[in-house]
């Protein structure tokens, strides 16, 4: 909290309303350690490479949003399958898909 500039930007952009600023002003402390707040969240491991890449809570939230949306079921299923995959593996996945597509097109053209 010692470094916070109290601009309130985090409150404004937080999609879940986890942060709120209050008019409380009694923040002074004798011990610097009291300015720190720590939170531990469980991390989720990538289903492909096994590396930890995001909090479990965040992935669950993304999944819930996906279910709430009125997108076609097939889109939901495809996107849902990628939920537990880390960004790096997703990129690799995309690249290999593109390569396959390119190969297929080439084959068709031939």
């Amino acid at each position: 909290m010692g470094r916070c500039i109290y601009c309130g930007r985090c409150e404004e952009v937080c999609p879940t309303g986890a942060i709120t600023l209050s008019p409380d002003f009694e923040l002074s402390v004798m011990n610097k350690q009291d300015l720190f707040e720590q939170a531990d969240y469980k991390l989720a491991a990538c289903h492909r490479c096994g590396k930890y890449f995001a909090p479990v809570k965040e992935i669950e939230y993304a999944g819930a949003l996906l279910r709430q949306s009125d997108l076609p079921e097939v889109v939901k299923t495809n996107a849902g399958a990628l939920l537990n995959i880390c960004p790096e593996c997703k990129r690799k996945n995309d690249v290999s898909k593109m390569v396959n597509l390119y190969q297929e097109n080439k084959d068709v053209a031939r």
């Binding site: 500039i5 109290y6 601009c7 309130g8 404004e12 600023l21």
Partner: protein, 582 residues
């Protein structure tokens, strides 16, 4: 928006034509960033002449000087002299105000350029800063001392070069003590009075050295930039475009929002983003709210320095109403942080509107009473009339800004000269006086206060409907433009070049006080010590503004400083004050 740009006729073509007529082939290139912003590229050796011609023959004022490490782009350093060219009031022609940027490239194997300072004294601090931050030598610059970088910074390390250091690099202090060389004034009976950097006249650090004979100040020298933190480098490294707005707020705790608007509008101008009209009105209102509290602060201090503490306390009491207004509108008393690139973060709804209308009414009547009490106190006029004179010629040479300049007879206000936000949509007028003294500057602030109140009221009355935020634009690398705002202390100019990694490539912000400090020396001369704090306060200096970012100075040569000729003579003879000559 591209369409809009084509519709608007270019302003300032006649200045470019004049330059071409005089310098011909030396005008290598001409490019327009906005309808009233043009960059002309010239060879290095023509730089002083081109700048001097624009400054003295075409009615130019030096707005800022930005150096830029363009080696990753084109292999060269570049330096931009930014002038607001306003013509010479001939006949009854409508004024043609344009920003002309004179650009020259500097080869990296020979990092030097001919100093413009001997021809245009206003460039002195800028060129010292360029030397500190980029290690580019101004050849022929009389003052070889560091300006921005601290004394304990190592030689030869230039923070703003792209390839020198990480923004977090903190070299070991090279000296244990300050070793800044102050000018040496000799003469019979001359005593040096050092003040600061921690001192009682002002909250902020700055070291003054007054050279006095008895009670009379013969000369003054000052070492500022105790507050240099390295913001420009920070903006180029850690923050993204929207985050820099919050940094800009912290250039100055008093007029931070002005910097915020100047920064945002420079980016918006470079990208030709259409900022919604309602957002422009909200910005105008907040800029004026900031002026309210800032002017009340200065009026309070003026009372304090002449020993009228009742006035001081009363001005600060009513100032809290302006603070309340800011808190209501932005959620914050001081650092508003309301801008984003493309608009503002907060609208003004009925609740806020009702409250500020009521507070404005209270402020108007209370401050009117206080100002009349202030002026009827005989002490005030006695202590301020003819004190700290800023002669018009000195003002012309050094390009001071804001009430400091307007107190010396120049009705120059960026809000009119280069209208931005909503200033050309609501009626108001510029306040100027020709007393050239502390009294004039104080009166200007008092009158501007009421002008600001009516500006806010008019903006509230004619506030347009519609959105307050433009979203979904794309950042284009290496576009650049100026942003400018008339802050309470004078114009703030920001020059920004966009980068290719969601970060700014180069951000040069120049605060109003930067231009007001150099002429202060002339204002102090010839007065008594007891008036010094009053004079310093009358330019309403903002140390932190000025001291934003800077750097290192390269060589600590033991060269003695060559003072201006006149000053030298005055020091020796100690008669026939140069002040009287004008």
């Amino acid at each position: 928006m591209t369409l809009l740009m084509e519709e608007k006729p270019k302003v300032g073509t006649k200045y470019v034509a004049a330059l071409r007529a005089r310098f011909g082939a030396a005008i290598l290139e001409e490019s327009w960033q906005a309808p009233d912003q043009v960059t002309v590229t010239v060879p290095l050796n023509s730089l002083p002449d081109v700048v001097a011609m624009l400054y003295y023959e075409q009615g130019g004022w030096l707005a800022t000087v930005a150096a830029n490490d363009e080696r990753p782009l084109n292999g060269q350093f570049a330096i931009y002299y930014v002038l607001s060219v306003e013509g010479t009031n001939e006949g009854s022609q409508a004024p043609e105000n344009a920003y002309v940027l004179v650009r020259a490239q500097i080869p990296p194997h020979q990092p030097e350029f001919p100093s413009v300072t001997p021809k245009v004294p206003a460039a002195i601090w800028y060129e010292r800063e360029v030397r500190d931050m980029f290690g580019i030598q101004p050849i022929g610059m009389p003052d070889e001392r560091r300006l921005v970088l601290p004394d304990d910074w190592p030689d030869g390390l230039y923070p703003l070069r792209k390839d020198t250091m990480d923004y977090r690099y903190r070299p070991e202090p090279v000296v244990e003590d300050e070793n800044y060389e102050f000018i040496n004034v000799e003469g019979e009976g001359v005593v040096q009075v050092p003040l600061g950097p921690l001192h009682m006249t002002s909250d902020e650090p700055g070291h003054f050295r007054l050279y006095v004979d008895g009670e009379h100040i013969i000369d003054a020298d000052y070492r500022l930039f105790y507050v240099h933190r390295g913001m420009e480098k920070l903006a180029e490294s850690r923050l993204n475009y929207d985050q820099v707005t919050f940094l800009a707020d912290r250039i100055c705790g008093i007029c931070g929002y002005a910097h915020n608007v100047a920064y945002s509008s420079s980016i918006e101008r470079a990208l030709e983003i259409d900022v919604p009209l309602r957002a422009q009105y909200i910005r105008t209102i907040l800029l004026e709210v900031e002026r309210l509290h800032s002017h009340l602060l200065n009026l309070g201090l003026a009372c304090h320095f002449v020993g009228f503490d009742t006035g001081f306390m009363n001005f600060f009491r009513v100032r809290e109403k302006a603070m309340k207004m800011a808190e209501m509108l932005t959620g914050s008393r001081k650092t508003y942080g309301v801008n984003l690139i493309g608009g503002v973060r907060r609208d003004i709804l009925k609740e806020q509107r009702t409250l500020i209308t009521q507070v404005l009414g209270e402020l108007k009547s209370e401050v009117a009473d206080l100002v009349s009490i202030l002026l009827e106190t005989p002490n005030i006029v006695q202590r301020t009339q003819n004190i700290g004179r800023l002669e018009p010629q000195v003002a012309r040479d050094f390009s001071p800004v804001g009430p400091t300049l307007r107190g010396s007879g120049f009705a120059r206000d960026i809000r009119v000269i280069h209208p931005y936000a909503a200033y050309d949509r609501v009626p108001w007028h510029v306040v100027s006086k020709d007393g050239c003294d502390v009294l004039s500057r104080t009166l200007i602030r008092a009158e501007e206060f009421f002008e600001s109140i009516s500006l806010i009221e008019r903006c509230l009355d004619s506030m347009p409907a519609g959105p307050i935020l433009t979203e979904g634009f794309k950042y284009k690398p290496y576009k650049y433009a100026l942003g400018y705002v008339e802050a309470p202390r004078g114009e703030d100019i920001h020059w920004s070049m966009l980068g290719d990694n969601q970060k700014i490539y180069r951000w040069k912000c120049r605060a109003s006080s930067y231009n007001n400090w150099p002429p202060l020396r002339y204002m102090l001369r010839g007065n008594t010590i007891s008036d010094a704090p009053l004079i310093v306060a009358s330019i309403d200096p903002c140390y932190s503004c000025t001291e934003r970012v800077t750097v290192v100075d390269v060589r600590k040569k033991k060269a003695t400083i060559i003072p201006y000729k006149e000053m030298e003579r005055y020091c020796i003879e100690r008669k026939d004050s140069p002040l009287k000559k004008y």
